[in-house]
Symmetry: C2
Subunit: 410 residues, 2 copies
C-alpha cells in the first residue's frame, strides 16, 4: 500500500489504535463522494488506523456486516469517485433507533472499530450521537464524527451544508434556462423545487435573476405560507405586468392554515377518485398549481409546470467548485478532529468573509446540537410580500453556488 508510506510521524502512543468505518446516508448530493474520498485519503496518513472499511448503504451495511475494503485504492480512481454524484458506497433511508444503534455498536466492537465517520444529515448526526453515548456507557473508546451533507441546507450550527451549493447551482441554472424558455414562448410556468421542510433550495433560484424582468418572478418557500387565492393573484399581477410569469416553488409550500399544499392535494384526490388513480406522484403539486391558475383566468394562457426531481441532487458534471472543495475539506477535518483526540462531533463551517472575500473556517460542533431538529430559512431573507427572497439572501447563497452559465439577451 504505497499511499501509506508518508504517514505522519506523531508518536503512535498518543493515538487510539484500531479500525475505522465510514458510511453514507440519506438523499445523495453531487459532492457526497468528495467527503468520502477526503476521509479515505486522510485516514491513510495515520498508522494508528489499521483498516478503513466502507459500509455498504450506511448503517444498514454495518448491521448486515457488508463492508468494502477502502485501503490502497488508486489515487486517480479516487479523484474520479470524488467527481461522481451520489453515494459511491450506497446510501440508506434507515433512521436508527436505540435498538438499531445497539446493533451498530456491537458490530463496531467486534471489528475493533475505533473510528466511525458518518456522512449524512440530521438523522445521521443523531445516529452518531446515540452510538457515541453507548460507547461512553460501555467504556469502549470510540471516536464518532458526523460529516454534514444535504442539498436541503437545513442543518443547525453550520453556516451551510456541503451538497447545498451544487444543488443551488443546478437550480439557479435550470431556472435561468427555463426563464429564457418562458421568454421565448410566453406564459405561466411553475417549477417545483426540492425542500419539504425548508426553503433554502427554492430560494437559491433567485440567483437566476439578473434584472427586474427576469424570472423567477415569484418564489414560495415553506417558511412563508400562502393561500391559493394569494398565489393566483400574485401570478396574475406578474402576468399583467410582464406578459409572462415564472414561479419557483418549494415542494413543501404551506397554506395559510399551516398545512402543506402537497398533503392537502393527496387527501383531496384520494377522497374524490375511484380505483387506484392518485394525484400524489412527482408532478402532482406543479400540475395542481398550474390548474389553479388555469381556473383563475378567463383568457387562454399557456400554463405549464415542471418538477425538477432527482436531477437537483444527482446531475453530474455541474457541481459548484466551492461546494466540492468544502465537502472535501469537511471530510479531512473530521479525520483531523478524531486524530486530535476529540471523542465526537460534527464538522461545521463558519463564514470568514463575504462577496469577493468569501471564505470559511471549520469548527467542531457537538452532535446533539446538529441532530434531530432542522434549521429553516430565516425570515430576514424573505421579502415583505412573502413571495420572494431579498438581496441579503443573494449575498448568502451566491458564493456557495459559484459561477453560473452565460446568459445574454438581444
Amino acid at each position: 500500500m504505497p499511499r501509506r508510506r508518508d504517514k505522519l510521524s506523531k508518536p503512535m502512543s498518543d493515538l487510539l489504535k484500531g479500525n475505522a468505518v465510514i458510511g453514507q446516508s440519506g438523499g445523495p448530493t453531487a459532492v457526497i463522494n468528495q467527503s468520502l474520498v477526503a476521509v479515505i485519503e486522510a485516514v491513510a496518513q495515520y498508522d494508528a488506523i489499521d483498516k478503513l472499511l466502507g459500509a455498504r448503504h450506511g448503517v444498514r451495511g454495518i448491521v448486515e456486516r457488508r463492508f468494502v475494503d477502502l485501503n490502497g485504492l488508486d489515487a486517480s480512481l479516487l479523484e474520479k469517485v470524488a467527481q461522481t454524484p451520489c453515494a459511491a458506497l450506497g446510501s440508506t433511508r434507515d433512521k436508527p433507533d436505540e435498538k438499531y444503534c445497539r446493533r451498530i455498536f456491537q458490530v463496531l466492537g467486534r471489528h475493533n472499530v475505533r473510528y466511525f465517520f458518518y456522512i449524512g444529515g440530521n438523522d445521521s448526526a443523531d445516529a452518531a450521537r446515540i452510538v457515541n453515548e453507548m460507547a461512553a456507557e460501555s467504556n469502549y473508546e470510540l471516536r464518532v464524527f458526523h460529516i454534514p451533507k444535504t442539498i436541503d441546507n437545513d442543518l443547525r450550527v453550520t453556516d451551510h451544508c456541503p451538497g447545498y451549493g451544487s444543488a443551488a447551482r443546478f437550480v439557479a441554472a435550470a431556472i435561468m434556462g427555463d426563464d429564457r424558455d418562458n421568454a421565448s414562448l410566453p406564459g405561466v410556468k411553475v417549477d417545483v423545487i426540492m425542500g419539504r421542510s425548508a426553503g433554502w433550495l427554492a430560494a437559491s433560484s433567485m440567483l437566476a435573476r439578473e434584472d427586474d424582468r427576469d424570472g423567477p418572478h415569484l418564489i414560495y418557500v415553506p417558511e412563508s405560507p400562502v393561500s391559493r387565492e394569494k398565489f393566483v393573484s400574485d401570478v396574475l399581477e406578474v402576468y399583467g405586468r410582464l406578459g409572462r410569469c415564472l414561479v419557483a416553488v418549494s415542494e413543501g409550500i404551506m397554506d395559510e392554515a399551516g398545512r402543506s399544499w402537497a398533503q392537502t392535494i393527496t387527501e383531496t384526490t384520494e377522497r374524490d377518485s375511484h380505483g387506484n388513480i392518485q394525484l400524489s406522484g412527482s408532478g402532482a403539486l406543479g400540475d395542481y398549481m398550474a390548474n389553479l391558475v388555469k381556473a383563475g383566468v378567463r383568457q387562454k394562457l399557456r400554463i405549464r409546470s415542471d418538477t425538477f426531481g432527482y436531477l437537483q441532487r444527482s446531475f453530474p458534471g455541474f457541481a459548484s467548485p466551492t461546494d466540492q472543495a468544502e465537502a472535501r475539506l469537511a471530510g479531512t477535518k473530521a479525520v483531523e478532529y478524531a486524530m486530535a483526540g476529540h471523542v465526537s462531533g460534527s464538522v461545521a463551517f463558519k463564514r470568514t468573509g463575504e462577496g469577493e472575500h468569501y471564505g470559511i473556517e471549520c469548527f467542531r460542533a457537538e452532535l446533539k446540537d446538529v441532530a434531530k431538529e432542522i434549521k429553516r430559512l430565516p425570515a430576514e431573507y424573505i421579502n415583505d410580500s412573502g413571495n420572494g427572497v431579498n438581496e441579503a439572501f443573494r449575498q448568502y447563497v451566491a458564493p456557495l453556488a459559484g459561477e453560473l452559465p452565460t446568459i445574454a439577451k438581444l
Copy 2:
C-alpha cells in the same frame, strides 16, 4: 457599423439586393441562437443585404411587424447570445396556413425583404415552402431558407438536427446521475423524456450505460409499442436480477393497440374523476407508470418517477460543443446558399465519417422534402425485445452528444 467594413468583394450586380428577415420558431433548443448569430454574422458580409431584421416570436412577429434591428451588434454580445439557450428573438407555436402565409408574404414585400431565414422544425419548413411558392407565383424575387432546429431530431433528409445533440447530452448526463442515485438508494425509477412522436431523445439515454449493470435498464420509444403487462414484467425481471431498475421512457410511448399511453391516461382520468382534478399534467405519465409497478408487486419497493421537462431543451452551460458548432454552421450555410443564388432550401447534414473520424458536410435540401412529415427512429436501432436500443445507435448518437461527465464506482 464597423462589422460591415470587410464585406465580400463579389460584384453587387450578381446579388439580389434588399433586406433580410430572420425568425425563430417552435420549442427552444440549447443552440438555436448559434444559428441566429451565424446568420447575423454571415449577412453582415454582404453589401447586397441592406438591413437584417429580427422577427419577434417568429412568423407572428412578421405579421404583427414586430422587428428588431440586428445590424451593428457587438461581437462579444453576439457570442454570449450564441451561448444562451432558447430563442433570443422569441419563438412561436403558430403554424401558418395559406392565409397566414399570405400576410407574411405581404409584409416581406412591403419591407423589400428579399431574404427570409427561418430557424425551426418541420412546420417552419412548411411555412417557408408556402411563402416561397407565393413569391414565385407573384414573380417577387425572394430567397427562403429553413435552418433546422429540434431536440426531437425528427426532420427528414438530414442525418441529424441542430439542437438534438445538446438535448441528448443533457438526457444522457441526467440518466448517468440518476442511475448513481438509483444505485445509492435502490428501487424502481421511471424517467420520462421528451419526444411525443419520435424516440430519438429517449434513445439517447443509452449513452449513460458504461457496463451491463448500469441504467437505463429499459428504454421505451413510441416506435416500439408496449403493453402495460409487458412493461411491468420487464421491470420486475430487471429488478429481480439487479435489485433495482431505471427506466427511460419517451413521453410518446404507445401501447400494443397503437394508442398513446398519455392519451389513454388523460381520457381514463377524466371519466373517473369528479370536479376539476385531472391526471394530465406534466408528471402524469411517470406517476402512472410508477403506480403500475406498485400495483404489480407484492413486496414494498421504492418506486419513483421524474419527468425531465423543459430542462432538456433549455438548460444553460451544458450544450454539446459539436452541436454548437453544427448549429452555427447551419446558419452560415443558409446565408451562403441564398447568396449563391439558390431560391430556397433547408440546410441538411450528411455524415462523412464515424467514431473518431466523425464529421459532416452540409447540403441543400428542398423545403418540400423536409416539411410536414417527420422521421421516426428506425427499427434497425431498436433491440429485439423492443425495450432498448443497440450499439449501432450508440455509434450514431455518441459524436452528437459529445463528451459526458466523469462517473466512477467503488
